[in-house]
Symmetry: D2
Subunit: 250 residues, 4 copies
């Protein structure tokens, strides 16, 4: 799987432009968030950026319809599961901040068991979850037949500038060796530094089932995750590794 | 503040017995969870323990009415905020697993701004939140006038048996020195080992605004958190430190 | 034990001035380093500060002779054990950077077994040592009869400005509950922030066998550890807690 | 670079057997430790395994002479630098336990500056060193012309069984992107689990300048690091990736 897209849905134009590009390069799923937010409600006197709300989900739905590429976006509440279903969004993702929200995991599972038993869900590892806890959270959602795990970096004592999170490749190797889960690596969040993403994709494709990458035609203009978002040229190179298949085989 | 109680509401009898005891020793708030859950849905072939549901909230409400001690319990979803309001539970707590669930923080704030502007909320620090992120989460809920922060241990590389979490007393000192927040320490979760709770209460009362302790008449019978729950005798000693006031002054 | 002193021996005058002051306030041991060094050999174009070498050891020896207060200083090499012996320095300390240097631990033990079997050694916990590894390192030096353990903060994912290290009070409680070791807490290194040292001393004295504090008449002028060094007024308050004994009993 | 060998020199026969095998498979340097030791001096009533001492260095010297493959082994003390020189051991390595032993770093540099200015040194990252501190330690030894950095895993809150350390691939990407250092990855120590080594070598060879692997004809018989040591068949596969060059290019 080559999953790519903007950190967030900013507008119809921005989303279509990026989705068309990554699809042309070979991306198999378009990713973009509709629910943004920041650590503080007010930052430097301005309210945090929260995105454009339900309109963003509608845009992703149009991307699916018009471009034919499936989309994945995140849920933070049970009501969001229904919202994404209303717009036929193909995949939902439980993000890192909610990965051990047991209530959300259990209720989402019930909804899928009833209405979408063959649907698949992406589950991002919480930044302080152990591998065992991640496996447990996956079981809460229905296990390896339904859940695709995403390693996106764990907290570490080392915060060398621009590399806040540390991708846990040992955890990825452990999951691939001892469990049946499919595992995707997200080097954008996992490094926090766009200059490192290409190399980490190369390493990830050598071990995992795919990568998830934040891409933008003008990364610096991205209202969120700008520092870890790669530009179109860099993504083209990543897509080339992926297509050549050299690094994806286990 | 001396906040104490069973990890979870098991039954009316169990809850009243513990609440009466801790109140008599000087506890100012009774704490107990109504929403339990474990890392895996099935453990050793048995379904995880999930508690007795809404019945538990009703029992806490009766404790408030009959004993006159206010209660605090947790929410994992916006609907739970309304549920606790329905039963007049005095304090709600956002637990460590939801401390960076921005949706829950923002919606809870809106409800409080509208219906309970003078109400107070306990916010537990997520186990991989930085102090700055905890301060930010507190702002999402309404800031120091509304929010009481709870240090309950952060992840650490050191997992010496039975001490899974590590209380961050530096973080507590930082919060007390640089912010206006009231800060409570939870040495039960913060150490994971009932033998360490008394000493850590002593240290905490020397710096913070109170402690939160898990207590049970028969700790080993507790279906959750048994290893970190102290017995009645130990709690009496902790309450004595608290009452003598020697360790609570800054 | 109330152990206090400058981070490093800068000069005879500086050392005597600080030693006299802390002794008058009730300090039982004077601490100061003779071997300084920094993470890089060249910083902003200037060579790292390395201290005044053997002259510093001589000054500490004079402090012992003239003031009658015993001193503790650090070793980084087997040859330093002999050097400190030559000057009759009462206590040596294996610092955090060498706490798992097995060669140094074993050779130091052999020298003590032979020449100073009743001598005591301070062993600082390495910043990524588990409690079990610290206990093991203590055994390499000769066990609880010879070794006094010093908790000085462990690495943590949280690097909130000026609090680089996190004191592990759970580890201290564990050592006091399950082992025979004497345990000292060092809130100066353990917090990295002079404003937090007083509160953390209070908490530490409630649980441990003493504290170790960096003190200077002009903290900002200290060539090393300036941010975590307290001034004379603050140290007087810490010494008062210590003397009143309220926080030292377990 | 493909660096391989037994964790420790057990005997002449064991060392030659492994060195011949890894050389035939394409290894460019033979690695093996001569100074062993464990966290405790006595384990289950038996003294820790400490290896065969200077005899081990002599055996490595013979390996160099008879097989023509250069060797690398570790130093824990300045005297060991001279010992390795006496036996003409091609490369020395400062191990993770000594990576921030400033005295050893500085003295080693002086010796090399004087006697072996073109010699190269392997420096393993300490398990709680930041990337910036590792770069600083490298400067203490003489910088990128002399020093080859080895990422061998950092401490992490996640201790899922058999994966005690976590390889920091973000750190490797950072070093390769922002510095001139050559970087080797050690997935044996970096994962602690022999089943994960092959996958992690694949990922490492996609980014770094080489790998360092612990190999034994009978891994379970290895007195140290048995769980992380791969057998001959596994090493052959790793050597094949290396030779095919597919993963080594940046």
């Amino acid at each position: 799987m080559l999953i790519a897209g903007a950190c967030g849905v900013e507008s119809r134009e921005q989303t279509f432009r990026i989705a068309e590009f990554v699809q042309r390069q070979g991306a198999t799923i378009y990713r973009s968030g509709w629910l943004k937010g920041q650590n503080r409600p007010i930052i430097n006197g301005k309210p945090e950026y929260v995105g454009i709300g339900e309109e963003a989900v509608k845009i992703l739905s149009e991307v699916q319809d018009k471009l034919g590429i499936p989309c994945v976006t995140d849920v933070q509440d049970v009501s969001h599961v229904y919202l994404l279903a209303k717009y036929n969004i193909k995949y939902l993702m439980v993000g890192a901040r909610n990965a051990d929200n047991l209530h959300l995991l259990r209720e989402t599972r019930k909804i899928y068991d009833k209405y979408n038993p063959n649907g698949q869900i992406f589950l991002k590892r919480g930044p302080s979850m152990t591998i065992d806890e991640l496996i447990g959270a996956g079981e809460h959602l229905g296990g390896p037949d339904r859940v695709i795990l995403v390693e996106r970096g764990i907290v570490s004592y080392d915060r060398t500038p621009q590399t806040r999170w540390r991708l846990d490749m040992v955890g990825v190797a452990h999951l691939k060796t001892y469990t049946e889960y499919k595992v995707i690596v997200d080097p954008s969040h996992g490094s926090g530094d766009r200059k490192l993403v290409k190399d980490l994709c190369r390493a990830s494709l050598a071990m995992a089932d795919g990568v998830m990458v934040e891409v933008h035609y003008d990364p610096d203009s991205s209202p969120t995750d700008a520092k870890q978002t790669v530009d179109f040229d860099t993504f083209s190179e990543i897509a080339r590794f992926y297509k050549e298949g050299a690094y994806g085989k286990r």
